[in-house]
């Protein structure tokens, strides 16, 4: 296993190097000027020239890339043009909010997706199955911003039972920042009011973000459970007189979970990187918002930093999924 992990880690390095090169080239050939984006349209041309030199953007592209790689090797992601802080500081500030949101979204997706998939498989082609199909289809096809605005309109604007955008209400004092995840920090500070407020604020955005994944998980658990339930050992278990619930959970579900875990792992990676719209609508200060801001303001170091972090997250998610395979399926062993 350790040899396998080392090989995967080595391969991931190549992937990450490729990502930096592609992102670097793309972000430097777009026909927009990061210096003008930073200084604003009113900046006189001589100021643009001066700041371009201060940022080192007047140097040849290969030289800029070598400087960037040199920084990466020393563990530096560069300095953001827009807020003039190290990109690593920015990412450390924004990533926890996204991890918090994505984790809750994943929990929603699993808690909704797997039971719905199971019910759907056990009642194949009957109304619970049709209902779950519509639910799953909605998750995969409805645009995130539409679902977000619709749910905000119903639960916040019309009914007022869930809070609006943001992580906390205006009149809730934020807990001291420890992990950067407000709900976790509130618990660590023993501030239960802030914890409750943070959880309430998490409900809508995590549901919206998790809905698409819930749809995928529903469909995946349904189809793999149907597949498993046709296997001989399930028939044997039933023949032995094992109770149906036990057959489904012990013999069916555990085996059916394998492909579902793949979906969950990959979806978690995409949740972390794909929270852009949800974070925008719910004013969630996560990496998605940071990425959007960086892209729209042509903040090249920030874009490179975010892309790199997302690439690492994806590589890790893939690795975790593969390792989980071995855990869930004793037949799989890595060497």
């Amino acid at each position: 296993m350790s040899r396998y992990l080392a090989r995967r880690g080595f391969l991931a390095l190549f992937v990450i190097f490729g990502v930096t090169l592609i992102t670097f080239v793309i972000s430097h050939v777009v026909p927009a000027d990061p210096v003008v984006a930073y200084l604003g349209d009113h900046a006189p041309p001589d100021l643009v020239v001066k700041v371009r030199a201060q940022l080192g953007l007047d140097r040849p592209l290969p030289e800029q890339y070598v400087i960037y790689l040199g920084g990466l090797i020393r563990g530096q992601l560069g300095v953001s043009i827009m807020d003039q802080r190290p990109v690593s500081t920015d990412i450390a500030e924004y990533l926890p909010a996204t991890i918090e949101l994505s984790t809750f979204a994943m929990l929603f997706a699993i808690l909704i997706g797997i039971p719905t998939g199971v019910v759907s498989a056990l009642h194949k082609d009957r109304w619970p199955d049709q209902f779950s199909r519509i639910f799953a289809l909605g998750g995969v096809t409805l645009p995130v911003f539409y679902v977000a605005l619709l749910l905000l309109g119903v639960f916040y604007f019309a009914l007022g039972i869930l809070p609006g955008p943001g992580q906390l209400s205006t009149y809730t004092a934020p807990p001291p920042r420890i992990t950067g995840m407000v709900a976790v920090d509130a618990v660590l500070a023993g501030n239960w009011w802030a914890f409750g407020d943070a959880l309430r604020h998490l409900v809508l955005p995590s549901f919206v973000l998790g809905y698409a994944s819930a749809g995928l998980i529903t469909r995946m658990s349904r189809s793999s459970l149907l597949e498993v339930m046709r296997q001989d050992y399930v028939r044997t278990a039933r023949a032995k007189g094992v109770r149906e619930r036990r057959v489904v959970i012990r013999h069916g579900l555990r085996n059916a979970l394998l492909p579902t875990v793949t979906v969950i792992g990959l979806t978690y990676g995409s949740l972390l990187s794909g929270a852009v719209l949800t974070e925008t609508i719910f004013s969630w200060p996560g990496i998605g918002r940071y990425a959007t801001n960086s892209v729209t303001s042509v903040d090249v170091p920030a874009v490179l930093g975010v892309t790199l972090v997302i690439a690492i997250i994806y590589s890790l998610a893939n690795l975790v999924v593969d390792v989980l395979y071995a855990y869930l399926d004793p037949q799989i062993r890595y060497t």
């Binding site: 984006a37 900046a43 807020d83 009149y171 809730t172 409750g196």
Partner: protein
């Protein structure tokens, strides 16, 4: 038993989530002393007053940092004393002497003296990568000469000696800009790290003498100010806490306003504002913004635009009323000169209206009876006044199409649009220009003086007599002669210029009926110091 435990855990969680009363751990100031302004504040880059150049950060800095002079809210034609109680201007408009008030306190409790003003100017010209620095360096003050240009003969007098004459009106309006918001030099110097002039520290703290100080700027989340308890430049404000939660989506801003989570929404679209009118719970307050949206025509890249008749034909072809009434739903007012309403030198005359027949006749006269084709560059986002830039471009295309001019719309991200525009590579461009400092010079120069390498230069319109006139008007005080010069400048621009002014957008606020006595203008923003909340 297991079910009972699970039930209890779930019940406890639900009780925690729904039963928590957020107010219990609220800060000292409650809703009556707090104003929440829903807006998109993602543009904030720095809260250091000498670095801030974006809308969100300059407005926050405006309320934290007092300046030598200030514009009264609602009157942007005359400055009033603030930190300086009086000032003298030399006859050659090169030397300005400010006499400072005694006993002004910073939020730290330190007393403001001339040393703080000098340190403030040193910061502006020395901070690297400063987007706002050009406001000061354009007057000839830079890192090399700041020691000689800004001096203090005594602790309560500041003398600013400029190498060249600069319009007193423009100079004083720049002195009211947060770029020279006076910082507490003792406090800031104590927080300098790696020669950064205390800039990193000033992003998360404030060191000013304005009515408010910074509680926290959580990037992309909110900016929060609280009353400066040492404020002694005016009466203590009744509003003790100001919060700008960062809400990008205008629909969500409106929801927050309706739910009472926000008291003011600042970024609603034209149609959302129109739907609020008539609702007794809210007031829509509007004032003309100091900006304009225009159609620029490059006089070199498109041969037809070398003819003045063609430029005029475009101006006659545009349906100004349709844009203002139908697209903007009243969220804009007509403007055809280069100086917006609200500033000295504004010319209310509207020489052009929608007259396709006249436009066609002019095209014929210019030798283009069958019209011509040109690209129309527009941004992908919003145009000023809360409408889509794409909708506005489509309207212009339609209007020009009626007189035979084919406009091929090219919509690109605004950064790309401005890069192309700044490189003199456009044919037609749909853009906006807004105020840096409230003086006509801030508009006449970019639109008229190509030597500034601003808007006139970008459209390759090199009009030497006009540039001279703009320069002359810029160096004058607000006298009838200055007004006459701006009239002449406006006249040349409207008759010969490559800019078809489309409208002056409104700044619109949707305000809850809990808020009373609200005053605002496009430079000071909302006057938090005088409003009250029920």
């Amino acid at each position: 038993m297991r079910r009972l435990v699970v039930g209890m855990v779930v019940g406890l969680l639900v009780a925690l989530v729904w039963g928590g009363t957020p107010g219990r751990s609220a800060p000292v100031y409650g809703p009556q002393q707090t104003i929440v302004v829903a807006n998109d504040i993602s543009d904030a880059v720095s809260l250091d007053p000498q670095l801030a150049y974006e809308f969100a950060s300059t407005i926050a800095d405006h309320w934290m940092y007092a300046t030598l002079v200030q514009f009264p809210v609602g009157d942007l034609t005359h400055v009033r004393p603030e930190v300086a109680q009086s000032w003298d201007v030399s006859k050659d408009a090169k030397t300005y002497t400010f006499h400072l008030r005694h006993g002004i306190k910073f939020s730290s409790g330190n007393t403001l003296t001339a040393a703080d003003v000098i340190y403030t100017f040193e910061r502006v010209v020395n901070l690297p990568k400063d987007p706002a620095s050009w406001l000061i360096t354009q007057m000839g003050i830079d890192a090399k000469n700041v020691d000689q240009s800004v001096t203090a003969p005594d602790p309560y007098t500041i003398v600013i000696a400029l190498p060249e004459a600069f319009s007193p009106g423009a100079f004083l309006s720049i002195m009211a800009n947060p770029v020279v918001g006076i910082v507490d030099s003792k406090t800031v110097k104590a927080h300098v790290t790696n020669g950064d002039w205390g800039s990193a520290w000033l992003n998360d703290h404030s060191a000013g003498s304005g009515p408010y100080e910074l509680v926290a700027w959580t990037r992309l989340v909110s900016i929060e100010l609280t009353a400066n308890l040492n404020y002694n430049l005016g009466p203590a404000p009744s509003i003790k806490r100001v919060v700008w939660p960062n809400i990008m989506e205008s629909t969500v801003q409106r929801d927050a306003l309706f739910r009472g989570d926000a008291d003011i929404a600042e970024g609603l679209s034209a149609s959302q504002l129109a739907s609020l009118k008539g609702n007794p719970r809210f007031t829509v307050m509007q004032t003309p913004d100091l900006s304009m949206t225009y159609l620029g025509m490059d006089v070199k890249n498109v041969p037809a635009f070398t003819k003045v008749q063609v430029l005029q034909a475009v101006k006659w072809a545009i349906d100004y009323d349709g844009i203002i009434k139908d697209l903007l739903a009243g969220n804009g007012i007509p403007l055809q000169g280069v100086i917006p309403k609200g500033l000295f030198g504004y010319d209310p005359s509207l020489p052009y209206h929608h007259d396709p027949a006249r436009a066609k006749a002019l095209l014929q006269e210019a030798g283009f009876p069958n019209g011509f084709t040109a690209d129309l560059l527009a941004g992908t986002g919003q145009a000023a006044g809360g409408i889509s830039a794409g909708d506005l471009a489509a309207k212009i295309k339609d209007d020009l199409g009626q007189v035979g001019i084919t406009a091929n719309i090219r919509q690109v991200a605004s950064d790309q649009m401005y890069s192309t525009y700044r490189a003199q590579k456009t044919q037609m461009v749909l853009a906006n220009w807004s105020v840096d400092y409230p003086d006509p010079d801030d508009f006449a120069k970019p639109f008229g003086d190509y030597t500034q390498k601003s808007l006139a230069w970008r459209l390759q319109w090199y009009n030497d007599p006009l540039a001279k006139l703009v320069d002359e008007a810029g160096s004058m005080q607000n006298t009838p002669q200055r007004s006459a010069l701006y009239k002449q400048i406006n006249n040349t621009e409207t008759m010969e210029g490559p800019f078809a002014m489309l409208y002056q957008p409104m700044v619109s606020l949707a305000v809850s009926d809990r808020v009373q006595g609200l005053r605002f203008d496009p430079v000071n923003g909302i006057d938090f110091a005088t409003l009250v909340k029920k």
